[in-house]
Symmetry: C2
Subunit: 160 residues, 2 copies
DNA sequence: ACCAATTAGTTTACGCGTCAATCAATCGGG
DNA sequence: CCCGATTGATTGACGCGTAAACTAATTGGT
C-alpha cells in the first residue's frame, strides 16, 4: 500500500483502500497530466487534441473514411463527431463528401493543408514523448505497455 | 515494437514510431476506457466524475476547504471550479460559505446528504476497481503503480 | 410493393475544461 | 494613508463528451 507519491500529490490523509484503486487512480492521474502537455502542444498549432486525433487517423488511413468509422477509432460518442468534423472542414483541413452508393454515408478525407499541418507537428510531438517518458528504460516502457494492455483485457467482454 | 494490442484496437497500419509513443498512447487509451466505466457508475447516482471528485476531496478533508484548494487537488483549471461548486450547492451536497477573516476566500463543506450519497457509491466503486484491475496480480499492480509514478517524475520540473 | 426495423448522421441540451478578462479584497511600499 | 500589485473568485466565450430525440436512406420480411 505504501504512502506513495500519488497520496502526497493528492494530499490524501489515508492510504488507498486497495492496490487496484491506487493503480486506477495513477492511470487517471498520469493521463490527465500528460494530456495537459499534449493539449498545449496542439494548441500552439491551432488544434485541440480531438482535432489532431481525427487528422492523424485520416492520414494513417490515406483514403476517405466514413464519419462513424472515425468516431469509432476515437472512442468519441457518435453525436460529438459532427461538430468536430464541421470545424475541421471550416479550417480547410479535411473534405466532406457524401457517398453516391449509400447516400446516408459521409466520407471525409484529409486535405493537403491538413497533411502539412500534421507534418509540422510530428517532430515536436515525438520530442514531447521523449521528454515525458524518455527517462524510463526500454524494458520499463515495454513492461508498462504490457501491463496497460493487460489491464484493458477486462473491458473486452463488457462494453466495447 | 511488436504489433501489439493497441495497434489492432486503433486499426493502425504501421507500428509505433517509438516505445515512448506506444506507452503514452496506451496510458491515454486505458484512462479513456476506464473513465467511461466510472462515468457510467457515477451517472447512475446523478453525479459526473468531476462532481464525485469534489465530494470525495471534501469527505477526505473532513473540514471546510477553500475553493481554490479543491481545484488544486483536481487538476481543474481555476475558472471551471465555480460552476462545478454551483451545481453541487444547488443539489444540496455541499455548503458554500465566505470566510470572515479574508473575505475573498470561499470555503466549501460537504453536507450530510453529500456524505450519504458518497456512502452509497463506495461499494460499487470498489467493485468496479476490482472488475477492471482485479485480474492483475498484486505484484503487477505494484509495478504498474511504480512505473506510472516514475513516468510522472518528468513533470516535476516543468509545470506541475 | 409495402411497412417495420435498422443504420448513418445530425440537432439539441447540459456539464466540463481552458483561456482571457474582470472584480473585489488584501498586501506592500512610499 | 494611499496607490499599485497580488490573490481569490467569478464571468463569458468556445470546444468537447454524453445522452436523447430526430431525419433520411437503406434493408428485410411478408
Amino acid at each position: 500500500m505504501a504512502g506513495g507519491r500519488l497520496q502526497r500529490e493528492l494530499k490524501k490523509r489515508r492510504p488507498f483502500d486497495s492496490l487496484e484503486q491506487e493503480a486506477a487512480l495513477n492511470i487517471t492521474r498520469t493521463a490527465d497530466r500528460f494530456g495537459i502537455c499534449f493539449t498545449r502542444l496542439f494548441r500552439e498549432h491551432g488544434l485541440t487534441p480531438s482535432q489532431y486525433n481525427v487528422l492523424r487517423i485520416l492520414r494513417g488511413e490515406g483514403k476517405p473514411l466514413p464519419i462513424l468509422e472515425v468516431a469509432d477509432r476515437m472512442l468519441t460518442a457518435v453525436p460529438g463527431i459532427t461538430g468536430l468534423i464541421d470545424r475541421l472542414e471550416a479550417m480547410g483541413l479535411l473534405d466532406r463528401e457524401r457517398s453516391t452508393e449509400d447516400r446516408r454515408v459521409v466520407f471525409v478525407t484529409i486535405t493537403e493543408p491538413g497533411l502539412q499541418l500534421l507534418a509540422r507537428i510530428d517532430a515536436p510531438e515525438a520530442a514531447l514523448h521523449r521528454r515525458l517518458l524518455g527517462h524510463l528504460t526500454p524494458d520499463e516502457l515495454r513492461e508498462l505497455t504490457r501491463l496497460l494492455e493487460k489491464a484493458r483485457q477486462s473491458l473486452d467482454d463488457c462494453g466495447g
